[in-house]
Amino acid sequence: MIEFDVRTTDDGIGVVVPRGRLNMVAARQLRETLTGLVEGGTSRIVVDLAETTFLDSSALGALVAGLKTARQAGGDLRIARPTESVLTVFKLTNMDKVLRPRDDVEGAFHG
């Protein structure tokens, strides 16, 4: 099972923390969570993957969809702290070449 923690920082940056397995069943929920944030006016989003134990291509697809929504609203989506196994999935699809994982949540929108 999966849970999503959602909070907004003082800078107005949305932080989403998926806890557990981020797979095809959870993908839609992730997409809806991200869309919900943007619609609520938070277009700068960090997805913190530190507690994501597993991630499949459907979940990657949901991240891309979220990225699109965020950029269309003038913001951006960044990912932070992926585990080694999650990073492997990024590399397998060459997503690591376009979407750079950040080392921490706080600094995700700096530099």
Binding site: S57, S58, V64, A65, L67, D76, N94, K97, L99
Partner: protein, 673 residues
């Protein structure tokens, strides 16, 4: 598959290759009649074409794989059954959907209604069948036909596996029990089963069944881990498709952004040229953007993550633009129209973003821009090809959209990522074939166009990630669609001899026959042992008789891919057409060819009687002409065919005989791919 059968097939395939190479090499080296080069060269080229076709066929069947009993599926897999429809009659769609509900392995059934029909939705949901239509994201976006329909549904569902069915393909209850077991192999991406049609009489006048393709050819490809996805009756692993979608997305964004930046630079350069000397501020702004473009390109070259680069770039250009507003508004309105057009840059349903016609981009670059117009163009350019893939409904498109037949390209890309495929040779769904000539011709043209499009856009011979054998297996099917040009030569050569006395070979000598005849015979023997009782004659006939379709598919796909022309795409109708009398007009080229062949027989006879021609050569060519006519006779049958009547199916079903010139193509049969 018994070892004995595989052994026999291999021996015959080997002999065919040896005798074929022996014949065609001799033809090139010693027997081309260069004095009559205008027919001699085309003939030897056609024969070479046929030899390569034969070699590829031999290679295909070399690894015939009979999978036999499938493994038992793991329990508790989640499966979505997709029934794709556009405009088929509701009763037909619902009939298929009800059969899908009766599939025994637990699953969910969905109707993918590209026609967005309220009545279909109401009736489906009343029976507990899911109904999906395009989401709002697709408004004013390229729809990509069936591939788009499937891509839309992929995001609305979440099963681990997908069974894809055309609206007329009624599945048997055991279809999932018989196929899911193959996915115990965790790298197995796709399992294809045959497409079989119930509304076809035994003599199959329209060549609807593809017994050779859905049999030995697929089993042979399977042996090389290259069994094809054929659009329907296949089970696919969602993870494989999604991985494909995401990795294609990453690749296309990269290609697209590089192109956009290159074009952006030209646009700025053009705008700067036209500046008056006193427009200092404007010049400065354009210089800044030019610098930003160069910097973005440098950052990309250094390997910086693409989205970081484009994000920074867009922020900076937006800032510069704000400074510029008001500086020059003279010719802005005109530019704005063009900019609006940019968002439809990728509007051609056959194109994806990475394959945008570069000439369209170049035209943009050559226009005379006002400075502000130029800056906005740069923004729009990068936006259109940036992360959001602005010209597409959804950024991730797992099903390939480069071709009107999405299946082959998708499958080739899956293989390229290292996924495996399987062909399970058991009829597990029964569908409806076209029952009239016009619909059949439209369908074959579409398949052929789709295949040739893929050949031009993503030629398998140069695709990374495929094994050599896989490349050749994909290429073999494409190659077989080029048979139309060879057919023309095989019609023209005997006519040239009988009417003009022109012989394309140096002499009809013993040398010629001892090489040609054994090759022809062994080639037919290969068909015979490979077919193992399945009818192949219809397929052989249509591969020659539909030569105008194959030629048109090649020229129209060429025009589409390289010249940006429309394909005149048409969806294959599943309904019977109105009775409009016999449509001889649809097969005019074939009728002309037959007329010329008959005329050649008459002229040849007269020339023989007058002593102007050699008896041996005349008779040899007459036999050839008669063979061509027998092949073409299928066209007459097809025109006269009045549709399927279940009781009247008493026709003859022939088995393979001889072929023309050198060897037989199986295009019509392969066409089912």
């Amino acid at each position: 598959m018994s070892d004995a059968r595989r052994f026999v097939v291999r021996i015959v395939a080997l002999l065919t290759a040896i005798l074929g190479v022996n014949y065609v090499a001799w033809r090139w080296l010693f027997s081309v009649n260069w004095d009559a080069w205008w027919i001699a060269v085309p003939l030897v080229l056609a024969e070479t074409y046929s030899l390569i076709d034969s070699l590829l066929f031999g290679m295909t069947v070399w690894k015939l794989k009979g999978r036999g009993e499938p493994p038992v599926p793991e329990p508790d897999l989640t499966v979505d059954v997709f029934i794709a429809t556009y405009n088929e009659p509701l009763d037909l769609v619902l009939g298929t959907a009800r059969a899908a509900q009766r599939i025994t392995y637990p699953h969910r059934t969905w109707i993918l209604d590209d026609g967005n029909r309220a009545e279909l939705r109401a009736r489906a949901e009343a029976e507990g069948i899911g109904w999906i239509t395009r989401s709002a994201d697709w408004t004013d976006m390229p729809r990509h036909a069936k591939a788009g329909n499937l891509n839309n549904a992929l995001l609305a569902t979440e099963g681990e596996f997908l069974l894809i069915l055309d609206a007329d393909m009624v599945p048997k209850p055991e279809i999932l029990d018989r196929t899911l077991g193959y996915f115990r192999d965790e790298r197995m991406g796709l399992v294809q089963t045959p497409q079989y049609f119930v509304n076809v009489p035994d003599h199959d006048p329209l060549g609807s069944q593809a017994p050779l393709f859905y049999g030995p050819i697929q089993e042979g490809k399977d042996g090389w881990n290259a069994a094809f996805f054929c659009g329907s009756n296949a089970v696919i692993r969602r993870e494989a498709l999604m991985q494909l979608g995401v990795s294609r997305y990453a690749g296309e964004v990269e290609v697209g952004v590089h192109r956009a930046l290159r074009t952006a630079r030209s646009v700025i350069g053009q705008a700067r040229k036209d500046l008056a000397p006193d427009q200092v501020e404007v010049r400065q702004a354009l210089d800044e953007i030019d610098y930003d473009i160069a910097r973005a390109r440098r950052d990309l070259d250094r390997g910086e993550a693409l989205f970081d680069v484009t994000y920074r770039f867009q922020k900076r250009v937006a800032a510069t633009r704000r400074e510029l507003v008001g500086a020059d508004l003279r010719s802005l309105n005109e530019d704005l129209a063009i900019i609006a057009g940019l968002d439809r840059l990728a509007d051609d349903p056959d194109l994806s973003l990475a394959t945008i016609d570069e000439s369209a981009l170049l035209q943009l670059a050559d226009r005379e821009w006002s400075p502000l117009g130029a800056v906005e163009t740069v923004e729009a350019l990068v936006r259109s090809i940036d992360v959001d893939l602005g010209g597409e409904a959804q950024p991730v498109m797992p099903m390939a959209t480069i071709s009107v037949t999405e299946d082959m390209a998708t499958c080739m890309r899956l293989h390229g990522l290292g996924w495996r495929s399987a062909y399970h040779d058991e009829i597990l769904a029964e569908g409806l074939a076209p029952e009239d000539l016009q619909t059949m011709l439209t369908q074959r043209l579409r398949w052929a166009q789709g295949t040739v499009q893929v050949m031009f856009r993503e030629n398998p011979l140069v695709q990374k990630g495929l094994t050599l054998a896989q490349r050749l297996m994909y290429f073999a099917t494409m190659w077989s669609y080029l048979s139309g040009f060879a057919a023309l030569v095989y019609i023209a050569a005997p006519i040239a001899y009988l009417t003009l006395g022109v012989l394309p070979v140096q002499a009809l000598s013993t040398d010629f026959f001892v090489r040609l005849v054994p090759f022809l015979l062994i080639n037919q023997l290969l068909f015979f042992v490979v077919a193992d009782g399945r009818p192949t004659w219809r397929g052989q006939q249509y591969s020659l008789a539909l030569f105008p379709v194959w030629i048109r598919s090649f020229t129209s796909a060429f025009g589409n891919v390289f010249l940006g022309r429309s394909l005149d795409f048409a969806v294959t109708p599943k309904e019977k057409r109105e009775d409009t009398g016999l449509r001889w007009d649809l097969v005019k080229p074939q009728l002309v060819a037959m007329g010329l062949l008959v005329l050649a027989l008459v002229v040849g006879g007269v020339r023989l009687a007058l002593g102007q021609a050699s008896p041996f050569g005349t008779i040899f060519n007459m036999v050839w002409v008669v063979f061509d006519l027998v092949v073409f006779s299928v066209i007459i049958q097809a025109v006269r065919y009045r549709g399927f009547e279940p009781d009247a199916s008493t026709g003859t079903s022939g088995t393979g005989t001889t072929t023309d010139g050198a060897t037989a193509a199986r295009t019509s049969d392969e066409g089912a791919a």
